[in-house]
Symmetry: C2
Subunit: 422 residues, 2 copies
């Protein structure tokens, strides 16, 4: 008998019929002798419906008081789906109880709309499990020290599930989603893309951060920190498939290097067209420059991804970085209004029509020449590289958006990703 | 400067546009110098939508565990509408914060789906009011001693509003609804029905319990117990009508006899066609009979309204009572299975096609002959009376359902209710 956490996305919870299927699947696992905790997302469309109403009422608010209310509002979606799942399980003959984040409680900081989990109390959930109940815990939300409801940001239910699994020392956390695992790259771009049976935690982190959107990145960080075995698998299989087969399906995210059975140097190609590039030209090359530029941007709560500073010439340097495309106009405005006048920099330029393509692989640590192979492949396709950024297990390039699919396909082929590694 | 509680029904909260109008109205009251607490219902249709999903998943469950989940589910409707109203108020430039029942907290017993309020903590709300914020408190819900969400039953938001007003010692509790006050009877049945400017608490209790549906009966009981001045008024007036005019509109429910300015003997005609009549015939006339019959019915959570036991003949008596029509079949079944065999009663008969018509008036206390005037009026219309029940300020008759409108119209005329009393 193991303690297992299941997480179901909004599509899996999208109607009474689908909730009933989730209940049947969970009941199957419980009847196989497992202690079951389930973390559901809101029914698909529900969060957007609620936030749409808020936007209709207050098109452009940003205050803390406003964000507090957004969290009160959005948290209802998961509370409703959790209660419905508990009801569906009861109808299947399984004792079941649902808890909102504040009831567990899942304690967070007070950063409304993007709170971070600080601790999870396991007493109440454990008592229910020991009493033979399936426990449903609302995803996406928690409670701060003053008793205000907080939410964890989009996709936060993944993080909730992993955090609950960590707190309960669960044997495995299964993330049921609308894809059947993690692929070498997006199969819509490269039809030959192959599902990985395992991927290392660090690789998954790089893939997730590039917008592969299979898992919220913070859930992967959490899983890494607490060594929660995490499996991504499809919620579209029949609920009554053989449980042993189901337990091996999808992609397992591993934490031990020796579990990493596939010895590929590069595991996957990630890409992201949601970014924009900004350059501040002719910046005086003095200490504290990076902070002066990025501090103003960070103060406006704009995330910065790739950052590049070239060597200086005549005491001046060029400073470039990428931001989410949605923040592009605001970042440019902040720089022009607050940074340029103080710095005496020449000018701010930018380009919203770029994309980022990355090769990701834990094998890169011990293999040289991987980056240059990437650059040669792109060069052979006539693709100009605008920015380069590297980490131990990733090499990213920023290129013109129009070359994205071409670059991804060429790299997938160059690194033989359609082949199962020997 | 007064502390005022507003309560808005689901229709008033039915869309973003309507929520904005509520916010403008509340902001007007706040700008006039009042400390404002607002209790909204869920957006119209929302509670039915949620409970419909539950019913789809579990058509016929009745366990405590199930009712607990129904409350988790239904409570989300008010949490969402409360957050939306806070957002709308912020957009109007008013500082505002919303609290779910458990955050106030509003403590209740643990009778899921029909919990009773035990206490309300006022510290948090008062601190916000003193800081100049409009406070939104979710209607309809509270939290039990174990931290489970409870709901107060249909229409429970009225009770929430009155209870909050009592806890805060508010100057007045204004119930905004889709009617503009309490009428001498339903204007759809009697076009000459007249709006009452004031009605006594006791009369209102009798009117509400008869299904006039203007206010949940428990809210009136609560208002009576804590002497909360309660006003029922229309939410369909323009939000910017003169506040002095608005403050005098609708119907005020009074608690002091000397406030009762309208000296009519009968204030209104109430009626209810949601009942059914059951008779147990040939019951041995021994002590404890009423309990043996009604105890079994009450154990099944069926409310009993009118109860009549005739004088006995040959040691046998007939025992009649009315129940909600929805409980009729189940009540008959319980009697046939559990009561008749034990009692040795002859038979159970019933009639679901009945209605109850009542005349209500505090003036009846000091005037004789009111009941007989009622019976004469019905007799002149050829309406047979099946059951009679009286209280200090009410006389009710059970008659054939088909005569309901005729009886109401005749009585309204007989007691001169279309005339403003001298």
């Amino acid at each position: 008998m193991a303690l297992i956490v299941h997480k179901y996305g909004g599509t899996s919870m999208g109607s009474a019929e689908r909730i009933r299927n989730v209940a049947k699947r969970v009941a199957k696992w419980a009847r196989a002798g497992h202690q079951m905790v389930v973390v559901p997302s809101a029914m698909s469309g529900e969060t957007n419906r609620l936030l749409g109403l808020a936007k209709e009422l207050a098109p452009s608010r940003t205050s803390d008081a406003y964000h507090r209310e957004l969290d009160m509002l959005a948290a209802t979606g998961e509370q409703a789906s959790s209660a419905l799942l508990a009801i569906a399980l009861q109808a299947e003959g399984m004792a079941s109880v649902s808890y909102a984040g504040w009831q567990v409680p899942i304690r967070t900081d007070n950063s409304y709309t993007k709170a971070r989990i600080e601790s999870i109390e396991d007493t109440r959930v454990r008592a229910d499990l020991d009493a033979g109940r399936v426990v449903i815990v609302t995803g996406f939300q928690g409670v701060d020290a003053e008793g205000n409801i907080t939410t964890l940001g989009r996709g936060g239910s993944d993080t909730s599930a992993v955090a609950v699994a960590a707190a309960l020392k669960a044997s495995e956390c299964l993330i049921y989603t609308d894809v059947d695992g993690v692929y070498t790259t997006d199969p819509r771009v490269v039809p030959e893309a192959r599902r990985l049976h395992t991927i290392s935690f660090e690789e998954m982190l790089e893939m997730a951060s590039m917008g592969s959107k299979v898992l919220q990145i913070r859930s992967v960080e959490f899983a890494g920190k607490y060594k929660v075995p995490l499996r991504v698998l499809s919620s579209f299989t029949a609920w009554d498939i053989d449980i042993k087969e189901e337990a091996k399906s999808g992609t397992l995210i591993t934490f031990e290097e020796d579990e990493h059975m596939e010895q590929a140097i590069v595991s996957g190609i990630a890409f992201n067209r949601d970014e924009a590039k900004i350059s501040v030209l002719g910046v005086p090359d003095t200490p504290g420059i990076a902070y002066q530029i990025l501090g103003a941007v960070a103060d406006a709560n704009i995330d910065v991804d790739v950052i590049i500073q070239n060597v200086s010439k005549d005491g001046k340097t060029d400073f470039s970085f990428t931001v989410n495309r949605g923040d592009y106009a605001r970042a440019i405005e902040i720089l022009k209004e607050r940074v340029i006048p103080k710095l005496g920099a020449h000018e701010v330029t930018g380009d919203a029509k770029i994309c980022k393509v990355s090769i990701v692989g834990i094998g890169m640590r011990s293999h040289v020449g991987i980056a240059s192979k990437m650059f040669r492949c792109l060069s052979e396709e006539g693709i100009n590289i605008q920015m380069i950024s590297t980490s131990e297990i990733k090499t990213s390039v920023v290129i013109d958006e129009k070359y994205m699919e071409l670059a991804v396909r060429a790299l997938h082929k160059a690194f033989d990703l359609e082949q199962v590694p020997a």
